[in-house]
Symmetry: C2
Subunit: 313 residues, 2 copies
């Protein structure tokens, strides 16, 4: 019988075999970006992402320009998760042989649009093609700390309050192709308050909060009636019989920020939201222990299992 599969298991296995000199590589696998020393005081942050047709987009519902935009935006969202300043990106595409030049140019133009919006130019890349009716788009993004210490997943402490930006769930209805990576909001928040841990919501709140809890060695509890449920989540719920809350907790690809804020600072955020461009919602808190709990309006609590998508499972 072969070994059970799973993206998280595989990443754990790779991490267990990775030996990095912590001076040269202060942040390695398992965070939103890696932090790398380049000699002297110089450091940069790095991430790589790729989109697969059929998994991350559907070309009957998305234009090549939207796919290109999303390909860049998911990497920019990783930079947001670390409160880092994007510097530049590399792009790679595996083009299906049955697509034409206009398709390839639109894809490229979509990437350039996202790059321009965040002053993060595409400085290089590669183009390949194959005999498959599928397109794959990869990006690698370089960012730098620029005055803000990169915020990890692993720093949450008991007592911290948990916040999310925006509204969650149902992004498959279109938002997953056109979201705004929260680069600006992350840096605004990090300049104002002490953020102990942060992640961007790519796998779904239940899964991504689990990442923060596990990496930080703490437990998290969130209040069901505090979760900002999107209109898209409500629309989807009407169609498929799942609840809007279920969509908000588990759909993924929201690309909003989830952050654990130092308690005193959190009180300031509760009084006034400093963000003009996004709703900021207090959804719960960090406590001693492990795992994630969902607290119902009547005060009852239940374990919240990761409900997001896991690759290679």
């Amino acid at each position: 019988m072969s070994e059970p599969r799973g993206e998280w298991k595989l990443i754990e296995w790779i991490r267990s075999r990775t030996r990095l000199d912590p001076t040269a590589f202060p942040i390695g696998p398992g965070d939103d970006m890696a932090l790398v020393g380049l000699g002297g005081e110089s450091q940069c942050l790095l991430t790589i992402d790729a989109l697969l047709e059929g998994t991350h987009f559907d070309l009957s519902k998305a234009t090549p320009k939207q796919v290109g935009y999303k390909a860049m935006a998911v990497s920019l969202s990783d930079a947001a998760a670390m409160a880092a300043k994007p510097v530049c990106a590399l792009a790679w595409a595996g083009l299906p042989e049955n697509r034409d030049m206009a398709f390839a140019k639109d894809l490229s133009a979509g990437m350039a649009d996202a790059a321009e919006k965040f002053a993060c130019p595409i400085v290089g890349g590669d183009i390949t093609s194959w005999n498959q009716p599928l397109v794959t788009v990869g990006t690698a993004l370089v960012a730098r700390p620029a005055g803000i210490i990169p915020i990890r997943r692993s720093g949450a402490k008991a007592g911290d309050l948990l916040f999310v930006t925006g509204e969650l769930g149902g992004s498959v209805l279109g938002r997953h192709l056109a979201f705004t990576p929260r680069v600006t909001e992350a840096r605004q928040l990090a300049a104002l308050v002490t953020i102990h841990a942060m992640i961007d919501l790519s796998d779904g709140l239940s899964t991504d909060l689990g990442h923060i809890a596990r990496e930080s060695g703490v437990a998290a509890e969130i209040m069901a009636d505090a979760i900002p449920v999107s209109e898209d989540a409500k629309r989807l719920a009407k169609e498929d019989g799942r609840t809007p809350l279920d969509h908000a907790l588990n759909d993924g690809e929201d690309f909003e920020l989830l952050l654990a804020v130092e308690p005193v600072d959190a009180q300031d955020l509760l009084k006034q939201n400093p963000l003009k461009s996004a709703r900021l919602t207090h959804i719960g808190r960090v406590v001693e222990g492990g795992g994630v709990s969902l607290v119902a309006p009547d005060g009852s609590r239940a374990a919240l299992e990761p409900g997001g998508y896991e690759h290679f499972k």
Copy 2:
């Protein structure tokens, strides 16, 4: 009628639309790596590559470990082409759902093997999967100048002599999975002599020399009887009726270095090969004009068209 396709045309189009501040981004699209400023004196070099099943490897002939090794090695070869020092890499895999955990681990182990060999650790990455019987592996590599100015494709001057490392052609028989990226050799050569231009032979000598000639605004001529033809090229020639020289000029995936050396320094290289680990062969020279010519043993000369593989054509 739709526009003619082609990897080179597409890259030209992208380059024509890319506006980079040359202070922040001294080397942009169109070279083996991009050079990026990170504030102050700090710079890094970046490349991204990916391998596609069916195009860059065949899983009936290559183990997943070999594929992983090649995925890292092609990026390391880009660093060699710039005479840069590899620092770290990111890895990404799109795993087919019909593969098991052992397959994924072998792939990862192959990447780690190549990374370890060049003290270039894999510091992060991502894993995805899809319902396709195909695997895609991407890497992004970071390198830094470390005492040697990055060597571009565009600096060749009339009078330079052209050299290649190793032997060319027929790498499809196995060498394309197990080659040694010429990182050490490139830095040895660059420390000894003035190299005006360099590239790694991924697309084939005829195509890659064309890249150097075009980017440098010069012509190149190579001597047919000087090209170091590999035993593999000879074996393939027996099977397919093409000449061994044709294979050496056009097969690609040799991942050897092609360099244009300042004339006085080149005389030193002609007298003694400073490389212990690879043959170094004088194959021709750079002259005024444009294009690449092949000079036959009888002195007759013919234009050498790019015969390498062009994607998306």
